[in-house]
Symmetry: C2
Subunit: 109 residues, 2 copies
């Protein structure tokens, strides 16, 4: 784990998708494989800026995007739609997805 763990986002404004989830007790290996594949696929989408993710009971994944249009296109991606359906039907006991416009950013290190 290095400081590369932080998404290298540009000066605001840009967008964040805050996805919080609770796993169901189902097929963890298949879930991990799909989650990794989705992270890699997201990184190849137009408008993708970066991702930060941690799971400790609750899972929190924040992905960053240039625009709402980029987020909408990623949501419509065919492989991603399969993953979304499996998530709802099988992998998650619950989730929240919030789309937010980042207005300010600062940090250190």
């Amino acid at each position: 784990m290095s400081k590369d763990a932080f998404a290298a986002t540009p000066a605001p404004p840009y967008y964040a998708v805050i996805f919080t989830s609770l796993r169901a007790d189902a097929d963890h290996a298949a879930y991990d494989a799909m989650a990794s594949a989705m992270d890699a696929l997201a990184a190849r989408q137009p408008g993708y800026l970066g991702i930060e993710s941690a799971r400790e009971g609750i899972g929190i994944t924040v992905s960053y995007w240039q625009s709402l249009e980029a987020i909408a296109a990623w949501k419509r991606n065919a492989e991603h739609q399969v993953a979304q359906r499996l998530g709802r039907e099988k992998w998650y006991a619950g989730f929240r997805l919030r789309i937010a416009k980042v207005e300010r950013e600062y940090g250190a290190g």
Copy 2:
């Protein structure tokens, strides 16, 4: 861990503070005590809506607020300012803080 892990946020718009951090290798017990105290103190501030948090290498804490004014007031809170200073000087190898306006929310479970 129950579904109460999700912040019970209202219909958008509202605001999110996305705080991502990497811990320094310093005084973990004192850090944990201060982090818990800050979570409890935040929950008593005007305009606080909820919090979601996980650490797995990187730490991600998303707190939700009614307004930018509520976020600014929490940032100015005297006890919180002590914690912010200790965070910068001692506890974090690095951090990012992003303030974002939540425009859309959906979920299940």
